[in-house]
């Protein structure tokens, strides 16, 4: 009986749990081996790839957080980047020389580790402040309000720079730069960074992506464990119940307002967390990094990866990050060398008489068309997402079988 119960506690079917376990194992192995793989691919010049790995981790964190809001609680949040911005600006303002230029005339340099949690706290607070009046709205209306919030927040940060009546708090369009570097009392180096194994004291992260990458792997693992705990808990069930039927959930004793607020706040907390990390790693926090495109990209990661299923969301985030930030950038080169190899080299030659700028140039003009085509292709092949939750898989199975029935009837 107890084994049976333990199986049931997670609320997942046995096959799904097995699949998720395998995906987690592969992801963990990949994360641990990534620096070595990058080193191997690039013949010892791995730094950019490790840095990209850490940046991909930022999107993984964002996607895990948005999955709580959209996948678990069913609240469509289109302004998720706002919380990302709040986190990043928290780290920027309280962890650099910025406040010296503000009316305070006094620099504040809080340690990065405190800023991480402070950013989380601020983002969650703003999530609650925004959520309290708006979460009574449903569906599309909530999406519109969050969309507005997502536009307002970066604009406020942009306008709080030089010449603002309240003083210069954010350096406006230029953004805050030279954020403090994180440091740790001890750190281990070893052959994996081509150095002898030893313990370094008073270690400063500097601009070396390796410690940032390690930190990101640790953060993602911690967040995955926490969100996994939430999913099978009293809180997770309440979120799903609100998603399924708010009236019934309320009648069963679920306080729907606080439940939704909590989902919103926790989602925002992840975003703030990711924001503080992102700003510090880049050492630059500007208002342009938190546009609507970021919110939509994260939403695409969640939906395409498999809404509601954490490993699916992680895979979706990594895949979309790769497509957007690596594949699309390199595509013109790939295609022109491919054209040469298959004997279509003449395509690479620009022919201005016919308005043809050459294959590579032509492709580099169309990145979002290609991105869109890739998304459409994936959603046609796997409408339920790459690694869907049981719910999503079932919903689409229903859709297909109902179509089949109505087809059969109409013929």
């Amino acid at each position: 009986m107890s084994a049976l119960l333990r199986g049931r506690l997670t609320g997942l079917g046995p096959r799904l749990r097995q699949r998720n376990f395998i995906v987690y194992a592969v992801l963990l192995a990949g994360a641990l081996l990534w620096p070595s793989i990058a080193d191997f691919i690039t013949n010892g010049n791995a730094t950019p790839l490790i840095s990209q790995g850490a940046d991909a981790g930022v999107y993984v964190l964002l996607a895990i957080g948005l999955n709580v809001v959209v996948g678990f609680a069913g609240l469509l949040d289109l302004g998720y980047a706002a919380f990302f911005a709040i986190g990043a600006y928290t780290a920027g303002i309280l962890g650099s020389g910025q406040l010296g230029a503000s009316p305070l005339h006094h620099e504040v340099h809080l340690p990065f580790w405190i800023l991480l949690f402070l950013a989380m706290f601020f983002a969650a607070s703003f999530g609650a402040i925004l959520g309290a009046p708006t979460l009574r709205l449903r569906g599309d209306y909530l999406a519109i309000v969050t969309l507005g919030f997502g536009e307002i927040v970066p604009r406020i940060f942009r306008n709080m720079g030089f010449g603002s009546p309240l003083g210069n708090w954010t350096s406006g369009i230029n953004g805050i730069n030279a954020l403090d570097r994180p440091s740790l009392p001890y750190w281990i180096t070893g052959p994996w960074v081509n150095e002898p194994l030893k313990i370094v004291s008073n270690f400063n992260f500097g601009f070396d992506p390796m410690p940032f990458y390690v930190l990101m792997v640790i953060l993602v693992i911690a967040c995955v464990i926490l969100v996994n705990n939430l999913q099978g808990s009293r809180m997770g069930r309440a979120w799903m119940a609100v998603r399924e039927d708010e009236v019934a959930a309320a009648a069963m004793g679920v306080n729907t307002v606080t439940t939704k607020l909590l989902a919103f706040g926790i989602g925002a907390a992840f975003s703030g967390f990711a924001g503080a990390y992102y700003g510090t790693k880049l050492s630059l926090v500007g208002p342009d990094a938190f546009s609507f495109v970021v919110s939509v990209t994260v939403l695409v990661m969640v939906v395409l990866g498999g809404m509601g299923n954490i490993p699916g969301v992680i895979v979706g985030a990594i895949l979309i990050y790769y497509v957007l930030f690596s594949f699309l950038g390199n595509l013109p080169d790939y295609l022109s060398s491919l054209a040469t190899q298959v004997g279509l080299g003449w395509l690479n030659e620009p022919n201005y008489a016919h308005n043809w700028p050459g294959l590579a140039n032509e492709v580099s003009l169309l990145p979002f068309l290609i991105f869109g085509l890739i998304l459409v292709a994936i959603m046609l092949l796997r409408p339920q997402g790459l690694l869907p939750s049981r719910t999503r898989a079932e919903e689409l199975r229903k859709g297909v079988s109902q179509e089949a029935v109505s087809d059969a009837r109409s013929t």
């Binding site: 808990s233 799903m240 009648a251 679920v254």
Partner: protein, 258 residues
């Protein structure tokens, strides 16, 4: 005509208006503790509206609702559930994409103590509670006789079992008063008999049952007292025998004789 001395639920002059429409008009009655009380009436009589006023989905325009002498008028639905009133819905409202077991576990939400902190870090308290909640959920599924569907999504259960699952979910909130809104709708006569057996079992657990039903035969056999609504007015109340012979009730159901 005097109701039992110890009412669990008192409805006092409840009126519910939607704009110009009076759905429930100055209705008063008391539901005695430990019995089956039935509310009947033709379509559109205001039965479900009255249920919604009791469970906090609607706020009555006038009048008050008392649970064991304490007012619950104007309380939020989740507060009413916490105080011990559970309900089912006329058109089944299960959590479709949650397993039957999860539906019943959710029902225990209001009796659980795990806070966000416990959930996040899976503290021993949360773990023990989850095990207890799961065991109780299985017991409740057995109680209503649908334990073999525990792992299935609620939407995949046969219709009759969905109605039973709704009852199990409502029982999970540990109610003192259970409101069943047409629990036998769409049932075969055989299933109706089984359902009334279940109602007796629930009564045996010390839970008062207050139900809405269309089928007069089911109601007459199974309930201790009946109130009749027609066009928002209470037109009769009493034992099944009294109600059956009330000319107003006969007229409401069969129309004025030509």
């Amino acid at each position: 005509m005097t109701p039992a001395a110890d009412p669990i639920l008192s409805i006092q002059g409840v009126t519910k208006r939607f704009g110009g429409l009076v759905a429930v008009n100055n209705v008063s009655f008391e539901v005695p503790k430990g019995q089956v009380f039935a509310l009947i009436g033709p379509n559109g009589a205001g039965k479900t509206t009255l249920f919604n006023c009791v469970t906090g989905l609607f706020r009555p325009t006038l009048g008050s609702v008392l649970l064991e002498g304490r007012t619950v008028t104007g309380f939020k639905p989740h507060e009413v559930a916490r105080l011990g009133i559970a309900r089912t819905f006329q058109n089944i409202r299960l959590f479709d994409y949650m397993s039957a077991l999860d539906n019943v576990r959710l029902g225990q939400h209001v009796r659980m103590s795990a806070k966000l902190w416990d959930s996040l870090f899976k503290t021993p308290r949360a773990r023990h509670e989850e095990v207890a909640v799961t065991e109780r959920a299985m017991e409740l599924l057995k109680f209503v006789g649908i334990e073999r569907w525990a792992e299935d999504y609620a939407r995949n259960l046969p219709y009759g079992q969905q109605r039973r699952l709704e009852i199990a979910r409502a029982l999970a909130t540990k109610p003192r008063l259970l409101l069943l809104d047409e629990p036998a709708a769409g049932f075969t006569p055989r299933e109706k008999v089984d359902l009334m057996g279940l109602v007796q079992k629930i009564l045996g657990e010390g839970i008062t049952v207050f139900l809405i039903e269309h089928d007069m035969r089911v109601v007459m056999g199974a309930s201790n007292r009946i109130a009749v609504l027609d066009h928002g007015d209470k037109i009769a109340e009493g034992t099944p025998e009294e109600v059956r012979h009330n000319p107003l009730v006969i007229e409401a159901y069969l129309g004025r004789s030509a």
